[in-house]
């Protein structure tokens, strides 16, 4: 165990006085590595807890940029970040570095998919879910089960949310409990049902507490239930799911078929929750050259870009293009149309 100077430990004194953590637990947190997938609503609350508590290395992965309607619940962002056109991972990392400069924060602006997830999580002790869709959650679940790493699922919509901790080999995995995701049109999205900040804060805080227990070695205290709550209807329930582990013939944790990780499941084009927007993930082998692209697109109208993204409008749609080749196309939920627009204006 590395020695930590007393002065550095002082900032965590209100946490180390809590016997469950103590100085030993704090040293474990400082030596821990976490990959946080998604830094939107759940993710900003999670990142805030991790960084303040002194988790030594926090990798924040997010594909998205910040918009004004995020500010209602995404607690690390402000109006300046919207004006600066910053990606969420980058803006979050800047805020978090000002909160705690003594730990390492690594922002990664990318879309998590089967080609990059192992690289993003293989050096982490724990994976946290701050995402907003089941496609990436099943992918996280595949990677976590394959590598034997714990992860904590959280999801919120409207005034309700749910969370569950997955310890591969010990608890059921996500696919044991939620066998498949709702098909399009069968479930509400943030756009149709909205989402309340307080529900987010509670679910993400439960996830963070589970993270602290896992990272300090208190697996005996891990919550083995699926927690479900609704802040508007005063519901708080714990559903007992532990017994599903040995009962379900789970393709993932029992048969070790990693369909998402192997790219058999999941698309590269995603309708974004609550956005009237589609992401087209056309992973470029080289980073896009924005100067070149802006000259090419300049004939259509205004093109603006910075180091992180390029924006332009065409056919009534607003395009935001990222250096890794992804684009978020606003003004449609039609993935085929979005693909067509991408091919037309960005190419490949």
């Amino acid at each position: 165990m590395t020695t930590v100077p007393d002065q550095a430990m002082e900032r965590y004194s209100r946490q180390t006085k809590f016997p469950g953590i103590g100085e030993e637990g704090q040293r474990k947190l400082l030596a821990s590595r976490v990959t946080l997938c998604g830094v939107g609503a759940l993710g900003t609350v999670l990142a805030n807890h991790l960084v303040r508590a002194g988790v030594g290395f926090v990798r924040i992965v997010d594909r998205d940029f910040i918009e004004t309607h995020n500010l209602q619940r995404q607690v690390l962002f402000d109006e300046n970040d919207v004006a600066a056109n910053l990606p969420k991972a980058e803006a979050a990392a800047r805020k978090l570095a000002a909160i705690n400069s003594t730990i390492r924060i690594e922002p990664v602006v990318t879309d998590i998919d089967h080609t990059n997830i192992l690289e993003l999580v293989s050096d982490a002790d724990l994976i946290l879910d701050g995402t907003d869709n089941f496609e990436v959650r099943y992918l996280i679940n595949d990677a976590a089960v394959k590598l034997g790493k714990p992860w904590v699922y959280g999801g919120c919509i409207g005034s309700h949310g749910q969370t569950m901790t997955i310890l591969p080999g010990i608890t059921p995995c996500l696919r044991c409990v939620i066998e498949s995701s709702p098909p399009p049109g069968m479930a509400p999205t943030c756009e149709t049902a909205g989402v309340l900040g307080p529900a987010i804060s509670i679910i993400a805080s439960y996830q963070a507490a589970e993270a602290f227990k896992i990272l300090t070695g208190h697996t005996e205290l891990i919550n083995r239930d699926l927690t479900y709550l609704d802040v508007w209807e005063n519901v708080h329930k714990s559903f007992k799911v532990a017994k599903l582990k040995d009962l379900v013939d789970c393709p993932c944790c029992k048969r070790r078929e990693f369909d998402w990780l192997e790219g058999k499941m999941g698309s590269h084009t995603t309708s974004l929750c609550g956005r009237n927007a589609v992401q087209v993930a056309h992973r470029a082998s080289n980073r896009l050259n924005f100067e070149e692209l802006s000259q090419h697109l300049g004939r259509l109208g205004d093109v603006t870009f910075n180091r992180f993204m390029l924006k332009f409008a065409a056919e009534g749609h607003e395009f935001t293009v990222f250096p890794d080749g992804r684009a978020i196309i606003k003004g449609t939920n039609d993935v085929d149309k979005a693909r067509t627009l991408y091919a037309k204006y960005i190419g490949h």
Partner: protein, 90 residues
Amino acid sequence: MSVKVQIPTPLRQHTEGKDTVETSGATVKEVLDDLGRQFPGITQRLFDGAQVRRFVNVYLNEEDIRYLENLQTPVKDGDTLSIIPAVAGG
């Protein structure tokens, strides 16, 4: 047996906005059938053929019916059946 069924928000368009429905039946299946008789629109949202849809979990009180006797699980007076769909957002 009188059993309360808790209806999740997205399915309340089929239950005239009700968050809880009083039903009767001796098993989970009979309870859900009774729910479908009272509110016919809900059945196809809950079931895929004879099985509960895979993204919907049904809990009898705190227990997942999959490790009980699934749809044949007996119910008793005063039980609560919760229908919990997967929550995607975040």
